[in-house]
């Protein structure tokens, strides 16, 4: 399941879809065991952000590859919604010539050519877009990186696991595209926002929280996930202490009795539904009306808007201090 932690909620779902196909092939046991034991990835290496906008530049990507970009890229294909958001935030929107069908932000992406979905990017469609830079990710795309390079494009795999990783991804994207100063400004702005949120909850008692990713089975985000980090930064404590994404015991949730119960939009749309679940009406979060629905794209997509996600969580944990 740790691979999921590196990607967006929607990608996770699609992997689960493939896993479902495997269920039909009676291979569920194997997949689930792999999913439960894989460790979280290490954060990406910090890169200097003061380099000049001259080419060639060399960066190390999240697949531990050393990549040299010979000239300033003019045609960029993004294979992950988070990468697309970074590119647009750096003002590179008009250079983006291909995105995935999962991309939904900013609104302009709907007009950009779709080169397949996140899990199975279409090599031919990518080639047709004639990119000189491809912003890929690892995980499901690890196998196709070499194939993408064969198209003659430079390929960078970005796969942030935490906030620092997001900053680094932005900075490396800036360096690779000659938007170094924009990247620095974006990261600085994010850090200011994050500092403001953490400052507003500073000194408060950490609020115990649980975040639901799926209902049945009950899936949640454990330690080492971006969500876990956001909860901590927002002045909370995740009641889940197991690493990565896990199917979690409902009765353990009842025992943990989190003060705030959060659920992603993809899992639950109506907070009132929670009280209908066995034993959950006894949860203090349910009794006290502290069930909050989170936008998956903000809280689990490792892009610039993760700050908004942090703010959502902080507002859920400390409504008296932080407003949405």
């Amino acid at each position: 399941m740790s691979r999921n932690a590196r990607t967006t909620c929607t990608t996770r779902s699609t992997r689960a879809a493939r896993r479902f196909a495997l269920v039909a092939a009676c291979a569920l046991a194997l997949v689930a065991l792999v999913g439960c034991t894989a460790p979280a990835e290490k954060p990406a290496a910090e890169t200097p952000k003061t380099a000049a906008a001259t080419f060639p530049v060399t960066i190390t990507d999240d697949a531990s590859r050393t990549v040299t970009i010979k000239a300033e890229p003019q045609r960029i294909v993004s294979l992950a919604p988070a990468n697309t958001e970074i590119a647009f935030a750096l003002g590179l929107g008009d250079k983006v010539v291909g995105v995935t069908t999962y991309d939904d932000y900013p609104a302009e992406v709907t007009k950009i050519t779709k080169i397949g979905d996140f899990t199975t990017p279409n090599i031919e469609a990518i080639a047709a877009a004639k990119p000189d830079l491809i912003l890929a990710t690892t995980g499901v795309q690890a196998d196709v990186l070499a194939k993408l390079e064969a198209l003659g494009a430079t390929v960078i795999a970005l796969d942030p696991q935490n906030l620092a990783g997001v900053y680094s991804a932005i900075e490396r994207t800036g360096k690779a595209t000659g938007a170094i100063s924009q990247a620095a400004a974006l990261v600085d702005g994010m850090k200011v926002d994050v500092d403001a949120i953490t400052a507003s909850v500073e000194g408060t008692e950490p609020v115990s929280a649980f975040v639901e990713i799926a209902q049945n089975p009950l899936y949640t985000a454990g330690t080492g996930t971006l969500l876990d980090e956001l909860i901590t930064l927002a002045g909370g404590t995740n009641v889940v202490t197991q690493p990565s994404w896990v199917a979690y015991s409902a009765e353990q949730v009842v025992k943990d009795n989190p003060t705030v119960y959060m659920a992603t939009k993809g899992s639950m749309s109506d907070p009132a539904q929670l009280s209908q679940r066995a034993g959950f009406k006894e949860l203090s979060a349910v009794k006290n009306g502290r069930v909050v629905i989170l936008d998956d794209n903000l809280v689990s997509r490792p892009g610039p808007r993760v700050v908004e996600g942090l703010k959502l969580i902080a507002a859920a944990l400390h409504p008296e201090l932080v407003s949405k």
């Binding site: 493939r18 479902f20 196909a21 439960c36 409902a250 353990q252 009842v254």
Partner: protein, 340 residues
């Protein structure tokens, strides 16, 4: 039918099964990710009866575990009952809701209803099981039709058609998940199967389906026994075979749909439980069918207990547990069949 010498005594077997079910359910409510002292379990149950429940252990035992155990028992009984029926009607020891593609059909039906009723919680509550039943029944009829040549049902074709169709349905399900991305993750997790969503409203939803699906077969065990002789002989002895089959297939599909609608795809229970019952009690459906229902309940209650406690508080899908038990059993069955 009386038993032959090879088979065990009815009285002993049904006493053991009843005690087993009670034991499994007691274990199911007594054990869990959070440990509750035996005295507290008993106290919680007593307080539930007297209506004075309140504390954490009350919530855990009565609120969380009891509905889950009851639901696992219902789903297990439904799947095993459906499996026993399919095996009787097709005279095929490998028939079960999963292999015949009926589970996948119910799954697809349920999923379509799931997507179509997004956001309408109340509507979804009724539509999902109904659509699951429609999907199960249509799949069943299609599989039977595909496997029949000139009114004769070839056992190998039946299994092949079932497997082929279940792959096709799984593919359609995957496709629908891709195109309805908003609902995707919810569907995917739901299809993986399990009881973490167990609740009294869900039990209230599937219990009538289960009872409706089980009652007719339980009252038709003599006719089911005639089916052992083959369609033609059953007809010679006065059974309206086509009509009876349709009724029984509808009953089996109803039970399958009840199980799939709340617990997703759980394999092997429908296959292995009737076999175990047959080995112990013989082929007489007056014993086989009720025994399968009870044993199915026991197996899933225990499998779910394992699924939620073995690496608690992390839960593993109950399908893994049944597959780990069922896979080797299936192989043993095949090997044993070859040796005969």
């Amino acid at each position: 039918m009386s038993r032959t010498r090879r088979h065990g005594s009815s009285v002993v077997a049904f006493t053991a099964l009843s005690l087993g079910l009670v034991g499994a359910m007691v274990a199911g409510v007594a054990l869990g990710a959070v440990s509750v002292a035996p005295g507290e379990v008993l106290g919680a149950l007593l307080r539930a009866v007297t209506g004075t429940a309140g504390g954490l252990s009350d919530t855990l035992v009565v609120g969380v575990r009891l509905p889950r155990v009851v639901m696992a028992a219902l789903v297990g009984a439904a799947l095993a009952g459906a499996g026993a029926l399919y095996q009787a009607l097709f005279r095929n020891p490998l028939a079960d809701p999963y292999i015949l593609g009926v589970s996948s059909g119910a799954g697809l039906g349920a999923m379509i209803a799931f997507v179509a009723t997004a956001g309408a919680t109340v509507l979804r509550f009724g539509a999902v099981p109904l659509a699951a039943f429609a999907g199960a029944m249509l799949t069943m009829l299609l599989v039977v039709r595909l496997a029949s040549t000139r009114g004769r049902l070839d056992p190998t074709s039946l299994l092949l058609a079932g497997v082929a169709l279940s792959y096709t349905l799984a593919a359609v399900t995957s496709f629908l998940m891709v195109v309805s991305r908003e609902q995707m993750s919810a569907i995917v997790y739901w299809m993986m199967g399990g009881f973490s969503q167990a609740s009294w409203p869900y039990i209230g939803m599937i219990a009538p389906m289960f009872v409706l699906g089980a009652i007719l077969p339980l009252l038709s065990t003599r006719e089911l026994n005639l089916m052992l002789l083959g369609d033609e002989r059953a007809g010679h002895l006065g059974l309206s075979v086509e009509r009876f089959k349709l009724l029984m297939l509808a009953s089996a599909s109803l039970m399958t749909a009840a199980a799939v609608a709340v617990a997703g795809l759980i394999g092997f229970v429908g296959l292995m439980v009737p076999h175990m019952a047959r080995i112990v009690l013989g082929p007489d459906h007056r014993r086989l069918l009720p025994a399968s229902l009870i044993a199915g309940a026991i197996v899933l209650v225990l499998a779910d207990l394992v699924a939620r406690t073995i690496i608690a508080p992390i839960e593993i899908p109950v399908g893994i547990v049944t597959a780990v038990l069922g896979g080797p059993f299936f192989i043993w069955l095949l090997v044993r069949g070859e040796r005969r």
